[in-house]
Every structure is written in structure tokens, then in C-alpha cells.
Symmetry: D2
Subunit: 346 residues, 4 copies
């Protein structure tokens, strides 16, 4: 039953452990190899006690497998993945290394020259709600960043339908696990607890992904996105509050316009099993531990401004869960396979 | 496939929503009825947005079903459950109403006279690690309290083997969800956040359950349990730190004795799929959202005192998950059915 | 020394207890009367154990005093305060009842007709950084809302100097204590912990205060403010992220423009002891328990958008501390008297 | 007025910043020198933004001062402090280096041979509630550990009066700031949040301090203390739950005995301004940011066991505040000088 062999490169971070947690519930694939340089030789189930039931040893080198998830940092990930793609393996990369179509974005935003620019054309940006078809036939999936996942899903319907102007504000609030398992003062408990702060005011690296996808959805205008992420005292979850100016006359006035807007979203996501159009303003907790994204579009009665809020679990729909969703598509499986667990609440 | 019809009485609290979350993953049962007085008429998936995929309406009265979970408060639960048991339904009661064998405990500890004392003999205390056999043949399961589950699992091996004296201290630390969804100043966010406190110093209602089960495990002595629960600023999880005096001469001195102790625990729980003997001091987070209980027994090198620490998720192994584990046994299913999701970490 | 007698109406909420905490450090005033209907007869130091050193009993009616802080809810507060003002007492009202100059705002935003509209002209909006002079000669101070305090201080310099257009987004993130001590599901620990959500998307009651003050600062344009508050899993603190479009040509391009902007803020707040222009993006924790407000203005390098972030402790600068700052001005004392304790970090 | 010059060695940790925060309110001393190797040359108010009002630069070497607080780690602190003591400065050491009277405890518990064992006799254990007299005449104060402060204050009255047997359990729950500002996986936000765990099961270094002081209080018996600390998801606060067996016949039975016990505590602490005998089970939050310790003694009605709970803020009464309290005594000032700010609640 569990017939497809899966490997995880760099299992020792939060994306790695989350992949292993979620794949445990997958009926058709089996993890056969997990790597991690510093932890090589250790039992996976001791390194991460929540994975105690796994009987796997972390190794330095990748073993035999057909599908590979890379949870390496950017720059290193491209180097690891490129040969695997060339060997014909299916690769889902969780780094940014294959997300951006323009090779120049790598020196500009990430400070390195891309080692395999020829793969950028082959790679598919792994947001299944936008690129499902392409994902079914690629061998290289660039799993999106956590912030772009929530932000693009919040804005796609109105951008696609050319309802809003190019000046967009995305104010995102993320749990701390998005910063990973590597230690830093900014993720030290006593610093983050009972605190909120904005960061990356000079421009966050997820910005070019967001702009790229919005521009693809509506090539008639170049979007000017002001994206400010905030660190919030919680482990998981991203809530993005998006603000834009509606073109006049496209929606009815007042509550009627809000209804039309909600209908537009409902239609856009009608066959997307992981996007819920929320009936009430959403909470990150309503997606905790799950692959769901809740989206709530509305219009300010005072200013007529479009406001769209989306919530995801940054480690699931924003990383490991979406990676598995993409794997399912790449393997010809139903998109939801192994991902139907409901959010953990409260 | 999903052939057994299940009902949940009083779905609107945290045990109710957790039952619905977990049963969503169960391959053989289907929820057909959910009740809740104040919320009757509302859609379950709107009342609890994490259950959005359910197409069920909350009703005032229980509909057709074969298995019933009661999540009613004590006293009311006995009144609801008694007729259902008599009708031949399988009932798993999450209240305290059928946990205590001595009818006098109800006026003493809960302030009411038991309305169906004849059922107390029929009911099985639903800790499968101790009473698996009896659970396979009962129609009435008294699902244990959250604190007793963790505490009894921590102490059962040494009590059963008569290794410790009767004077036992159980210092438990619980997440706030254990206090339920009903509002109180003690569970108001600004009061509980960044705070820890002890409560029920006059004697917590879970004490008689603990004492009853320990006395059954070792009838040679009457256990004098000092049990102090603490409210901890987290949503889920109970960590119990148990202290007792080891009878001299039963275990080797020093590290050898700790090894013997660990072996005793490993043997005791060897065919109990949800109890893990932890290699390192356990964290509640290592059980988050799952039905696992981690147990860590050791001996103080300075004082020779036995120290056993256990962790559970109070809403899963401490409530809804254990209830499903019991249902599985009552239905003749493998104990682990639908409960194998790994803990959510971090 | 402690010669001015002070009373607190409705001491039993979070603003009341914070007033008592802060006034304990004030060298020149003494609390002589504290009221609270439901708690009348109880010792203040038992009702709020952090006030254990106070030897005061909560009463139903206000006793003898010269200065009164009202911590009543809106609508009731106006009724309590109006006669006191007429008796010649100095009154600092923490409700919204005297903040808005336009009487029609009360039915529109608060659902009641103002009982003492004649006092609206007399009342001074108690933001000392804008209205210090008027505060020194009033008997009735309308202490601002928590959100308006942070938002207006963030925007005042650029609005005053006519640097930005009228279309403003204020995305605020508040700790839970802002919702008070009254119980609600939305402030129940297990609901709020590990969660973030937006609320009041239909228009928050603090919006008219913000708009009123911005319009006063720059009457050349009518400001269209989109203000979305968010509930954040922390007890204290508000971070407001404000977005606006800079008029072209008013500031230099690039980093030079940011420097000019920072200088503008530094100049604007140069004799305002409680406003700090932050060197780095600010954290709410850097104001915890104190009357300071940190402000960080910058410009997006990608879009040229103005971004200003401010942080306050919602219960101090956003409520009780600012009320005392206003009292100091009303009594002719130095503004900082009794308020110089530094923020509690970490 | 601010006439005594004070220095802080290693101001860059949490004890250092807390000393600076608290001394800001002290009327008679002035910080003239702050050291910190890695941060030398930086402005104190930029390094710690909550200290923005300080105009001090962190230096590598200590400047001119009369009183020195050392916030160095153990072993290094003794080396720094010994010459200062010999120069005649008053030194308050926050490390463990002068707390233990028996030089052999240093190799046994801390792994180093004490470099200045002759000073161990001169040093006074800085718990003013026990050693006030000695503190007024010493030049070297060993400020106690955070856990010992709370635990000893909880137990001192009953130990001193010989009411309990030697077998004592201390189950302590600490906020994360007790682990300091140095990064570790164990204090990484995503690991600690929504988690509780026990640690140092092999014996925590604070144990010998506790035992030393209890043995001094009642030399008739050698106390066997089982002390288990727990890490709790909060920044500040320690709650210690202490369990012991009361000698029979010393207190009346039932509620009368509890009253006698409370009276004993009230009498013991009657002239100790920072210890409050709590009327209700205490909360750490009731001491937040302050130098107070709340103590709640009671007796289990079921088992007759003594239970005493104490709460402190680990960084104030458990470190910096107590250090200043000791400084006051060493300088002949009233014990409470500069330390009377009430706890921050909620």
C-alpha cells in the first residue's frame, strides 16, 4: 500500500519534522530516507519525540527514494535538488530556490547567483489553487513561501478579475515557528512572549514571489505591494490582512457589493478543497495543524476599501502540507490524500 | 465503510468538538447526531469553524445512533445516560458520574445523590491500559478524568508491583482547556496568561478516582494521595510530577535501580500502544493533539525518592481520544483505530 | 505631601486597578475613595491582590475627593461625570463620552443620545502631546481610547505637516486586556491563546476619534481612515502599523528622505517626554507597564509608501497612565510626575 | 541626592537590565558604570530599548563606583568580585559563587575549585528575611538563587519552629527568563510555548543552597529535599509548591490547625515588608515586576500533609530586586527604598 518511497533532505528543522508528522497519515507513500548533517546517526524518533513511532535513522546522505522533499535553506537547496531532478526524481523544494522566474531576483533578493537557472523554467510554483494543471506534469515543484501562500490566496480572485488597483498593502502576522528551529535572539522565548513587532521593513524576501504571482494573475497592471510581516507570540499561524482600492463601478454599493464579492470568492475557490470562504472573520486557530486556508473578503463601510483576511497554519498550508498536496498532484493522486485531518481547536 | 452511527450529547464544549475532530478520521464510524441545547438549530461547522467540513445541524434531542458519547456535566450526564444504557446503546460518559464505585462518593465529592447507583457496578472505568478486557464487554464506559489518566498511568506499575509506600504526592500542571468552554474569571485570558497558580487545595474532585484505582492496583495498602493541580498558561496538556517513597531493597542502588525501574515500566506497558516510556524528561508538547501518554520514571540521586512524570493532551488521552479508544474496544475494533495521528510539534 | 485627594469610579476593571497601581507611586496625590457596585464592601487589596498594601474599602458611592477618574463604561460615565464637573471637581473620564466634539457621533457610533452635550465643548481630548495647553486649564478631560493614542501619535507629524494624502490604513494589534475584565468567549483563554484575529470590520468605535484628531491636525483634507484592529495573544500592548501615500516631492528620495522624515518626528516630539522615536523597529514589550510610546517612521524602498509603527502599553499610555499625565497637567504638576518607571523587560 | 555610585558588571543579561530598570527608581544611588564584554561601546539605551532614558555607554572595564552588582556567571563572578571586595567596595554577587558555606560544594555542584574560599566566611547569604542583621555589616552579599528565594521563604517558619519532618518535596514552576538571555533550544520560543516540562532531575544546582539554609534554620535534623524545577510558558514568575509531613500533635486538627499555621507565618513575617501571607492561593502574576513574595500555607484535609505555596518574580525578588534590597541594608538605608512599586497586573 505504502508503495512510493519518499526522502526528506534536512529533516531536522520544523518543515522536516512536519513533513514526517503529516506523511505518517498518508496511505500511499512511505518515508525511506531522512537526512540531516549534524544529527546523522540519531534515531528520528528520539531527535523528535513526537515522531517516536518512526523506526528511521537520520543519515548524512540521501538513500533510495522516488520523491524528495528538500527542507534545506535557500542557495544550498538548489545545489542539492538540481542533480536529483536531472536523475528523474520528483522533487518538491521548500526553499525559495525555484520560486522566482527571473534569475536576477536571486542576486537581488537572496544574494547569490542561481546555480541552475535552466531549471527555473521547468519548476512550477506550487500553489495548487493557481497551478494545479502544471503541477500534475512537473518533476520540480517550488513550494511557495508561507507568507505568499496566505497573501496570494487572499488576493487572487480580485486581482484575476481586475477589480483592484495596483497599490496593495499586505499586513501579515506570523507565529514564531516560521522563523525555524535555528536559534536567534528574535525567537528567544522571553523576547517574543507578550510582544509583537514588525520586521523586514526594508523589504522581505517573500515580496518578489507575491508580486510575481499577482502580476501573472493580472498582467494588465504592475502591482506595487507594500508587505509588512509581524512576529506574533504564538507558535503557528499566519493571518494576512490585505488592503486595496476597488475600481469604482465594478461591484454594487453597500452590502450588495460585499455579497457580490463573497460570491466571486466562492466561485473562484469552488473546486479548491483546502480553501474555505469564512462566514465570520477568521482566526488562525481555525486552521491549526491543518492544510486549510480560510479567506474572508469584505469592504470597509466607511472608506469603501477592500479588506481581505486569510489564515493558514504556516507549517502546513504554508509549508509541509502544501508540499504534500503538490506531491499528490505530481503523483496523480487525489489532491487531498493524507491531508484531511481537521484543525486542532482550541 | 463508515457504518456505525455515533451521537454526541452536548457537542458544544471542548470535549464535544474534540470528539468530532477526531472521529472525522475514524474509518468505521459516522457521527449522525449532535446535541446542544443552547445551540440547537445551528450548523456544527459554523458553530465550530474547524469542523467546517461537517454537514450536521446541532439538535436539542439525540437522533438515531448506536454509540453515544456524553459530554454533559456531572449529575446531568447520569440522568441522560441511564435510559440510553437501558435501551441497549453503547454509552461512553465523559463526566464523573460512573467513575466511582462507591455511591457515597457522589454526595461527598459532587454534592448529589446518584440517580442510577445500580449502573455503577456495570460501568467500567475507561482506562484501557488497566481495564482493557472489561471494556470489550461493557455497554457503559466511564471515561476517566484528565488528571487521573495521567497520574494513574504514571504510578500504576510501581503501585501494582508494591514498590512504593502509601504516601504519594501528585503535583499536576494543566492547560486551561481542562476548565472547559464555560466562561469564568479564572479562565479569562488576561488573568491566566503569564501566570501559574494552584487550585482546589481543599481537595480536587479527581482525587477519589485516583485513590480508587491505586487501591485496586495494590489492595495491600490504603493510599494517601496529596494531589494538587495547577493552572498553567497553555491551552492543552497535563504534566503530572509524582513523588513517592520506594520500599527499601526492592530495586538496586544508583543507576542500576533506575534501569530496573525503567524496565519495569517498559514491561508493564509493552502491549499498550498509547503509552511511551520516554527516553528523556517529557514535554506536554510531545503529546499535543494526540492520544499518546509519555511516562518518565526515575529516582532522585540525592534523596532516593521515586519521581515519575507523565504527559498527556488533556483533551485527547485525557478525554475525547481515550473515549474513542474505549469505543473501539467496546465495538471489537483495534484499540488504535482512527487515533494514530502523531502529536503536533512544535 | 500626598495632599490631593483622588477618587476612582468603578475601580474593579483593568483601568481602575491600573490607576491604583500607578498612583501608588505618585508623590502628591492620595486615593481616598474607590467605588465599584458589585464589589462594594470588599477590601481593595483583597479584590486585587497586587494592591495588597492599600488599606481602602470599595464603596458604592464616591467619597470626598478633588480629582475623579471615571472608569465607567460609556453612556453611564457621562451620567456619573456631568454632576461632578458641575460641582467643580476635576474629572478625567476614561470612557468615550467626552472625546467626540460632534454630538451626533454618539447616536451614530455608540447608540445613545448624549446626556450632557453642553460639556462636549468644555472637555479637552486628553492627548497631551497635542493638547497640553488646553489641558492645563480644563476641569474635564476626555482620556483618549487606547487605539487612537497609538495611531494618532504615529501619524500626527506627517498629517500636521501635510505630507500624506487622506487615504490612510491603520492596522492595529492589541493585547487582550484592552477588552477589559468582563468575561466573553472572545477573551476566554483557550480561544485567544495561540490565535490572532481581526475584529470590528464593520467599523470600530475608536475610528471617529482618530479621524477627528487627524482632521484637526490637517483641516485641508478630510481623512479616509481604514482602521482594522486585531486581537493578539498577549495581555498588554498595542502595535499600530500605519500606511499612507506621501505627497511627491516633499521629502528627498531614498535614505535621505527617511532621514528627513525621522528628523521631522524628532522635532515634533522633542519636548514630549513620553514619546520616543525608536532607532529600530519597535516592540510592544519595550513599553510594557510604562507610559512611553515608541514611534518608528520609515518609507518602503520598494513602493515609496509611508510606514509608521507605534507601540504603547494599552493600559498605561493607552488608559491609566495617560489619565494621570492629564491629571498632572490639570493640577499644574510636571507632566511626568509619578510616571517615570521604565518599561518592564523582558 | 543620587549620591552613591553604583556599577553593574555584565549588564547585558536579564539580571543586568533588571537592575538598571529598578535602580532608575532609586532615590539615593546612581549607576555610573555598566560593563559587558561583547557589547562594549554600545549605548545602554539602544542595547536595551526599555532603558532608553539612560545616557550610559557599556564599557569593557568597570569604572569608578562604591557599590558593585555582579551579574557574571558563576566561577567568573568570584574572580571578578574577590579583588573588588578586597579593595573595600560593597559587592552584591548574583552568581552562586559566595552562597555556599562549604567550599567542597563548588567542585561537587559547579565543577570548579573556589578561587577565594576565604571569602565564603565573610559573605552573607542575601535573604534579608533571614539574615537582615548580618547584611547590615557585610561588604559581600551572596544574592540567593531564584528558586531558593521562593522555596526557603515558603518553608522557613515551619522549619524554624520544628514543625515538619526532614523529608521535603519542592515542586517549582518557573518562567523562562530564569534561564537567562543566552540562546538555547530549551528557551527557543516554539519549543517552550504551549509546553511544560521538568528538568534537572539529576539534581539542580540550587538544591545545596536550599538545604544549607533549611539546616541552619533547624539544625536538629538533616533535611532531605527533593527539588524538581519545571519550565513554564511564561516570561517571569516562580511558583513553588512545597510538601512536607507535619509532626503530629503540634498543631490543632482541622481548620483550627490551618489557622494556627497561618498565624505562625504571619508572626514570622510580621516585620518583613516584602513577604505577604496570601488570603487566597497565590498567583505568580500577583508579584509581576515587583519585589514581593506571597506565601500561602495550608494543610491537606485528606492527608494532613503540609502544603506551602510561594510566588515571586524570579527577576525581582528572585534576583535584581533582592540584590537592591540587600544593597539598601548594606548602605544603612531603609530596606524598601526604591522597591515599592506594586506588581503589574493583569
Amino acid at each position: 500500500m505504502k508503495s512510493t518511497k519518499v526522502g526528506i533532505i534536512n529533516v531536522t528543522g520544523y518543515v522536516g519534522v512536519e513533513l514526517a508528522r503529516l506523511l505518517h497519515q498518508h496511505p500511499y507513500v512511505e518515508i525511506t530516507s531522512v537526512t540531516g548533517r549534524s544529527a546523522a546517526g540519531q534515531k528520528l524518533g528520539r531527535f523528535f519525540p513526537n515522531l517516536a513511532t518512526y523506526d528511521l535513522t537520520i543519515t548524512a546522505e540521501l538513500g533510495d527514494c522516488e520523491v524528495v522533499f528538500s527542507a534545506m535553506p535557500h542557495k544550498e537547496s538548489a545545489r542539492e535538488c538540481a542533480p536529483l531532478v536531472k536523475q528523474g526524481l520528483r522533487v518538491i523544494d521548500n526553499s525559495a530556490d525555484f520560486r522566482l522566474h527571473n534569475p536576477q531576483d536571486y542576486p537581488d533578493w537572496y544574494g547569490f547567483t542561481h546555480p541552475a537557472p535552466e531549471l527555473l523554467k521547468e519548476a512550477v510554483f506550487g500553489l495548487p489553487e493557481l497551478h494545479r494543471q502544471a503541477l500534475t506534469s512537473t518533476k520540480l515543484c517550488a513550494n511557495p513561501g508561507c507568507y505568499p501562500t496566505g497573501a496570494i490566496l487572499a488576493l487572487a480572485p480580485v486581482v484575476k478579475e481586475n477589480l483592484i488597483g495596483p497599490d496593495i498593502v499586505i499586513d501579515s502576522k506570523s507565529g514564531v515557528s516560521g522563523a525555524g528551529r535555528t536559534l536567534s535572539l528574535g525567537t528567544h522565548y522571553s523576547e517574543v512572549n507578550e510582544d509583537i513587532s514588525a520586521y523586514a521593513l526594508e523589504g522581505h524576501r517573500h515580496l518578489p514571489e507575491i508580486t510575481q504571482e499577482l502580476n501573472l494573475l493580472n498582467p494588465r497592471q504592475k502591482h506595487a505591494v507594500t508587505f509588512i510581516p509581524h512576529l506574533t507570540p504564538m507558535t503557528r499561524g499566519i493571518l494576512s490582512t490585505c488592503y486595496a482600492t476597488l475600481f469604482p463601478g465594478k461591484l454594487a454599493a453597500g452590502k450588495k457589493g460585499v455579497e457580490e464579492l463573497r460570491q466571486l470568492y466562492t466561485d473562484f475557490y469552488k473546486d479548491k478543497p483546502f480553501v474555505w470562504i469564512a462566514a465570520d472573520p477568521p482566526h488562525t486557530k481555525q486552521t491549526y495543524g491543518s492544510n486549510f486556508c480560510t479567506v474572508y473578503p469584505t469592504i470597509s463601510p466607511q472608506t469603501g476599501k477592500l479588506i481581505v483576511i486569510s489564515c493558514i497554519d504556516n507549517l502546513v498550508k504554508g509549508a509541509a502540507g502544501q508540499a504534500i498536496q503538490n506531491m499528490n498532484l505530481m503523483l496523480g493522486l487525489p489532491e487531498v490524500t493524507g491531508l484531511q485531518a481537521l484543525p486542532v481547536y482550541p
